[in-house]
């Protein structure tokens, strides 16, 4: 390559550099990011799996809560109304007071029914805790 060709190449480079300097314009957002985010499909992630599991535990927890509540109420009724059933307000009040008075005995020597009630309540509480924890983490990340 001779001197003239070298000069032509240098001149070309200078010309092109000047031309492309104008092409390097900044592209403003003008809502592009928003449009992209609105169009994103749902993505399978390990966190999404955790969210689905927490919803499943909500349902299971609800059933367990209902069963636990029924056991607790049933236990109360069978204890206080062992000698007969009465709807009068004074009878209800007396039976409630007797139940509370006998509560320490129930706690120290729980029956199978009472143990099941306690276990059900513990599962429900844990489920609610996990679900709330997952919601807090999700809100932090979004």
């Amino acid at each position: 390559m001779n001197k003239e060709d070298n000069m032509m190449n240098i001149n070309d480079e200078v010309l092109l550099e000047s031309f492309f300097a104008e092409a390097r314009t900044d592209v403003t957002d003008d809502g592009f990011v928003e449009r992209v985010m609105a169009a994103l499909p749902e993505r399978q992630t390990s966190f999404a799996t955790l969210r689905r599991w927490s919803k499943a535990t909500d349902i299971v927890g609800g059933i367990v809560l209902a069963v636990g509540a029924a056991l607790i109420v049933g236990n109360y009724l069978s204890t206080v109304y062992a000698d007969g059933f009465s709807f009068s307000p004074s009878a209800v009040l007396v039976n409630a007071m007797l139940f509370l008075h006998r509560l320490p005995d129930h706690i120290m020597m729980p029956s199978l029914q009472q143990l099941l009630s306690i276990a059900a309540a513990a599962v429900v509480l844990m489920t609610l805790f996990i679900q709330q924890f997952a919601t807090i983490i999700r809100k932090q990340l979004l």
Binding site: A23, T45, L142
Partner: protein, 187 residues
């Protein structure tokens, strides 16, 4: 790769964080859209559609990003492939200085002078008209090197072309462009 990108990518992959992905889009939307704007002859709507699809694909396949190249290089590769797919679908003829067929030189686009006046400034050259005289491959390589500043190695990673092929496209593209600019009074 920027350390900020590494943290954001990790958040997106592990937790699907929309906030982290929005930050990635914000950081890289300009070069991707600018690149596609040159490839589509300045068609802003077509370029933005392709750019949007680029980021959606990146979101869906974030786990496939291995970090061997920069994140932006990976995005450009996706953008380039989408552009080629779109070209194949629409069967658009490439506008090239070497092709004399009428179909390759749309009259409405090429008949107007590429040089235009800006009040109080020297004559400016319409970049898209000038770049339209190059073949698709030449325009791609010239845009990536001269506008976006990528190295030959990065261009090879984006386009999956051989480095020698890229050098050849660059030399030819720049020569054609310089001739065109001088021929139209640009200096």
């Amino acid at each position: 790769m920027r350390s900020a990108d590494v943290i954001l990518i990790a958040q997106v992959v592990s937790t699907g964080s929309h906030r982290a992905f929005a930050k990635l889009v914000e950081a890289h939307q300009a070069p991707v859209r600018r690149f596609l704007l040159r490839l589509t002859h300045g068609d802003a709507m077509a370029a933005d559609d392709l750019a949007q699809e680029t980021f959606i694909r990146a979101w869906q396949h974030m786990r496939d990003f291995r970090g061997l190249s920069g994140f932006e290089t990976w995005l450009m590769r996706i953008a380039y492939r989408l552009f080629l797919d779109e070209q194949r679908k629409t069967k658009q003829p490439a506008l090239t200085i070497d092709d004399n067929s009428a179909a390759a030189q749309p009259a409405a686009f090429m008949e107007q002078s590429p040089v235009y006046a800006v009040p109080g400034a020297a004559l400016k050259m319409d970049i898209d008209k000038a770049m339209a005289t190059l073949s698709t491959d030449e325009r791609t390589c010239v845009t990536l090197q001269c506008v976006e500043g990528y190295s030959i190695k990065d261009i090879a990673s984006i386009t999956q072309m051989n480095e020698n092929t890229i050098k050849s496209h660059l030399a030819r593209g720049k020569r054609h462009l310089a001739e065109y600019l001088r021929g139209n009074g640009y200096s």
